[in-house]
């Protein structure tokens, strides 16, 4: 009897523990998945109403998500936006708008989540629409057309500039679903000391580019002159690839300015460019370039193991960061346009507003306007090196003095002959994701440039939005 009682008590206890553990596990899983992918923090103040609140629109709390956190190069800009916006919209002089910020660990995680949210109509009030997110939101009818807001504010429209507005209105129905925050103008950085030691100048043609690489290598200045990569999205490699095609002539340039997404990669100029890229990897890059991520390839340039890296002006703060490069390294770096005076010149896609009630949409508009107006563009320039969209946007002299490379790039922009987009910006997500796995096949000789074009076609055809 005693034994039976003991068993019964043990069974009840066991069941209790199991139930508790299951409950605890399920709760734990939920919170850990939230904390591992999305860290919520409110940058807002407490919700006490101000005295002037009665005359102002009701307070609104906006849901914002960002991946510009931690070591992201625009994290400082993002923090400044949030802080200054909160100070401005504090409920005293202006409506109280609180920002509830979700921090995400990477842009990839951000866009993966946004795709799901765009499908389920749970987007944050203000979101970024890369990687097909905005296409989904527009298709689902949950993106706000910001035309009425801009039309009602001609001063702001002027701050953006006509080109940036035209870029935002590049939709079938002419709706303004995204407003850019800056212009990507990309050339390449080079090590002036290494160039001088090899007796070369920045190349004006692609033949000269290749002979420069050979000169850098044979002169013993560096064994591998180029910082290339295939990992992540193959960023530095794709910039050079885009430039070879974009400056190859009218046809190649038109290809690299494709409106929307590339439907076919069958272009002789692209196949030839890929064959050139292969040589750059096999003959002029470090052995770990294949498979390398951005941090590694940038590190090679910062440590003076390589002489050239293609990248945008947002990299310039790294040159003077003594945690990343040696003291005085910034003085050794020069900036140049790509051969044939080419430059990747494209607007950032920028911000969009998710449909909601009018008060929330209006508040979201205030935030978008703050981030993209003249002052917002200046914050992005100062903190993240993103160029202003409007060429008339004043650039402070102090900034130019503190950032001579960016100033030099801006001055070189007048010489640009060929403007084009990066291949990532005009390729379906499936292609961007496939490129890092196809490049190694090109480099180890399994396929040639034409073979890679065929594989890119196959990757494009897999995208659910292909042909739409």
């Amino acid at each position: 009897m005693k034994k039976a009682n003991f068993r019964a008590i043990l069974a009840v206890l066991l069941a209790g523990v199991m139930c508790l553990s299951v409950t605890a596990c399920s709760g734990g899983t939920e919170s850990s998945s939230v904390s591992s992918t999305v860290e919520e923090s409110s940058t807002g103040e407490s919700s006490e109403a101000s005295s002037a609140e009665g005359e102002l629109p009701k307070p609104v709390e906006l849901n914002i998500a960002t991946f510009r956190v931690g070591t992201h190069n625009a994290a400082a800009a993002e923090t400044r936006y949030f802080t200054e916006f909160q100070e401005m919209y504090n409920g005293v002089d202006k409506q109280k708008i609180t920002l509830k910020v979700e921090e995400m660990p990477s842009d990839q995680e951000y866009y993966n989540q946004m795709k799901v949210r765009a499908s389920s109509n749970t987007l944050p009030d203000v979101f970024e629409g890369n990687a097909g997110v905005l296409e989904l939101a527009v298709e689902n009818g949950i993106a706000v057309d910001m035309n009425p807001y801009v039309e009602a504010d001609p001063e702001y429209a002027e701050e953006l500039g006509e080109d940036a507005l035209a870029f935002g209105r590049n939709w079938e129905d002419g709706g303004l679903y995204n407003i850019s925050y800056g212009l990507q103008a990309i050339g390449y950085f080079y090590n002036k000391e290494m160039f001088e030691a090899a007796g070369i100048e920045p190349a004006t043609t692609w033949d000269e580019w290749m002979s420069n690489l050979e000169a850098l290598k044979t002169s013993g200045v560096c064994s591998a002159p180029l910082s290339m990569m295939t990992g992540e999205n193959g960023w530095t490699t794709n910039l050079i690839l885009s430039s070879i095609v974009g400056t190859s002539g009218e046809e190649g340039n038109a290809f690299m300015n494709t409106n929307g997404y590339i439907q076919s990669y069958q272009l002789p100029e692209l196949a030839e460019a890929l064959d050139m890229i292969k040589v750059m990897f096999t003959d002029y890059s470090l052995p770990d370039a294949v498979g390398s991520d951005y941090a590694t390839t940038a590190n090679h340039f910062l440590n003076e193991e390589t002489a050239i890296i293609a990248n945008g002006p947002w990299m310039t703060p790294d040159f003077s960061n003594t945690e990343k490069a040696a003291e005085g390294f910034a003085d050794k770096v020069g900036v140049a346009l790509f051969p044939e005076n080419g430059s990747i010149s494209q607007f950032e896609r920028g911000y969009s507003i998710a449909k909601s009630d009018k008060a929330r949409e209006d508040a979201a508009w205030e935030f978008v306007k703050f981030k993209t107006g003249t002052y917002g563009q200046q914050i992005h320039l100062e903190e993240a090196g993103t160029l202003p969209m409007n060429p008339d946007t004043p650039i402070p002299e102090e900034y130019k003095e503190a950032n001579p490379l960016v100033a030099e790039l801006i001055s070189k922009m007048a010489d640009i002959k060929w403007r084009y987009k990066s291949i990532d910006a005009i390729s379906y997500t499936t292609v961007v994701d496939a490129m890092p796995t196809i490049y190694p096949l090109l480099i180890d000789g399994t396929i040639d440039g034409q073979g890679m074009c065929d594989q890119l076609d196959e990757a494009a055809a897999k995208d659910a939005n292909f042909g739409k």
């Binding site: 069974a11 069941a15 199991m18 139930c19 299951v22 993966n112 795709k115 765009a118 499908s119 097909g132 989904l136 298709e139 689902n140 295939t230 470090l286 052995p287 770990d288 294949v290 498979g291 997500t429 499936t430 994701d433 890092p436 796995t437 196809i438 490049y439 190694p440 096949l441 480099i443 180890d444 399994t446 396929i447 594989q455 897999k462 995208d463 659910a464 939005n465």
Partner: protein, 289 residues
Amino acid sequence: MKIKKKWLVIFLLPATLIFAFVYAVPVAMLVTTSFTDWVVASDPHFNGIDNYIKLFTQDTQFLHATTNTLLWMLLQSTIHILIGVLVALILSRKKFYWKFTRTVYMFPNIISSAAIGMLFVMLLNPSFGIVNKGLEALGFQNLPNWFSNSSTAFFAVTITWLPFAATVTILVMAEMTSLDPAIMEAAKVDGATEFQTNIYIILPLMKNIIGTTTVLGATSMLQKLDILMMTTKGGPGDVTLNLPLYVYNTAFSAKQFGLANSIGVIMIVLGLVAVGLINRIYGIGKKDY
């Protein structure tokens, strides 16, 4: 009897409900939507077995991913298990080193897969990795970029998990402790050598646990995603692409949810077939003595 049944129902109910919501409902949804053309931002429409026909007749990446997955399942069911059992047999001799070796051998199994992936990326780095540096010191030249060369990537990925069979070792060793000492003593009295004891007595008696670990090993290859994400992302080309990664790519890159779910269903079927086959081969659950 009635009271017993009542308690039985009460105790089983929470687990049954959790199973239903966590597994049964999603699996039912998975199977249902695998027969649809569901892509992102659209409603699913029934399209019969089109997804399956497309996968088996047009999708070369799927066929490569399936071949790789089956090959890894086979390697994990054989070489991985063999290594684990051999280590268990060696450690069961309880020589002076056994506790230290058991602990060290366990390390790769307690470190997260993502960290293991990063570790191997560093070890096999063609510029500064210790493997290439060591081989260079031994006189080897033109060493490959292990993860990024199409002729070495499969091997490089496989080596990140194949030798680390500590789970097999621990389970087999635990089962060994339950062996009746009288059997071992009888073998000794009969003059059996250690090798003969291992081959003719211990291993046959370990059949159930070896079968169970084989099931675990084989099915673990239907879940392998993290290491691939950290190392090759399925490349070069689709040399190291497996089914879990292909599901991920199809759902989150291509945004073709219906097709991704069809692959999911195929993975479930593969898992069930593998479990059935291994159960049959090992006769798991059947008594030999």
